[in-house]
């Protein structure tokens, strides 16, 4: 188990974008994802598609139609896909205005479970989702419009 903290990435009047960072690491999961592909001649444009999609959501809202369900039916893990290439950015869509982005990669297997790295990214978000939902149920954390309130000094064991 590793401790993770939620960080704010971008805020607009319409949406809040967040990511997570693991204890002892210098880079957030989102930064790790971007750095993997930003200088890759083949994947660079696909990364641009995903990030521009996020930029659109910061203006139009975190609409469900833009995501592909991943994980299990019972969790909120979803992915921003580039369909033909298989590039996926795994996310937790908490509401129409709040999105947590994690890490991702190229899905070359039929299911994410068959890929050790992708499986790890999804499991991390599944655990975070379960812990956040428990905190929301207990009134420790609230989703208020574009904000996640109550996670400022909180670590999650995931």
């Amino acid at each position: 188990m590793t401790k993770a903290t939620i960080l704010s990435l971008e805020q607009t009047e319409v949406a809040g974008l967040f990511t997570l960072i693991f204890e002892g690491e210098m880079q957030s999961e989102f930064v790790k994802f971007v750095k993997k592909f930003k200088d890759d001649a083949v994947r660079k444009n696909e990364l641009r598609v995903i990030l521009n999609q996020i930029d659109t959501m910061l203006v139009k809202g975190i609409e469900e139609r833009r995501f592909r369900p991943e994980g299990k039916m019972s969790d909120g893990v979803t992915a921003l896909p580039v369909y033909k290439s298989g590039l996926r950015l795994y996310c937790l869509r908490l509401s129409d205005s709040v999105l947590i982005v994690g890490n991702g990669g190229v899905k070359n297997t039929q299911t994410y479970e068959e890929d050790k790295d992708l499986n790890g990214y999804v499991i991390s978000l599944q655990k975070l989702d379960a812990l956040l939902k428990a905190d929301i149920r207990n009134g420790v954390v609230r989703i208020e419009k574009t904000e996640i309130v109550g996670v400022d000094n909180k670590d999650y064991d995931i």
């Binding site: 960080l7 990435l9 930064v31 930003k38 990364l47 598609v49 521009n52 609409e63 139609r65 592909r68």
Partner: protein, 90 residues
């Protein structure tokens, strides 16, 4: 809340450096998806109906509505025929 400053800078940098033709393509894709959603709603059609009537899978229709799909003219024509109205106007 703590900020991911490096993430924010990288995000902005990559969005800002995206070539205008790709940005325009994505804008068109999203506008078509929004138009299609509106037309389905006004005609009381579900995504399943559209899939069935265009001979596509529901997963394919879901991709059309995702906002990044690179529609072919053939697909746009098929959808327009099924909806009984042109999806795009030039």
């Amino acid at each position: 809340m703590k900020q991911d400053q490096e993430g924010r800078v990288l995000f902005r940098q990559i969005v800002d450096e995206t070539p205008e033709d790709l940005k325009t393509q994505l804008r068109f894709s999203d506008l078509i998806a929004e138009k299609l959603i509106g037309m389905l709603k006004s005609k009381g059609m579900s995504q399943r109906d559209l899939a069935k009537n265009t001979g596509k899978t529901e997963a394919e229709v879901s991709r059309w509505l995702g906002g990044t799909h690179n529609f072919t003219l053939r697909t746009l024509a098929k959808i327009s025929v099924v909806l009984g109205e042109d999806l795009i106007h030039v």
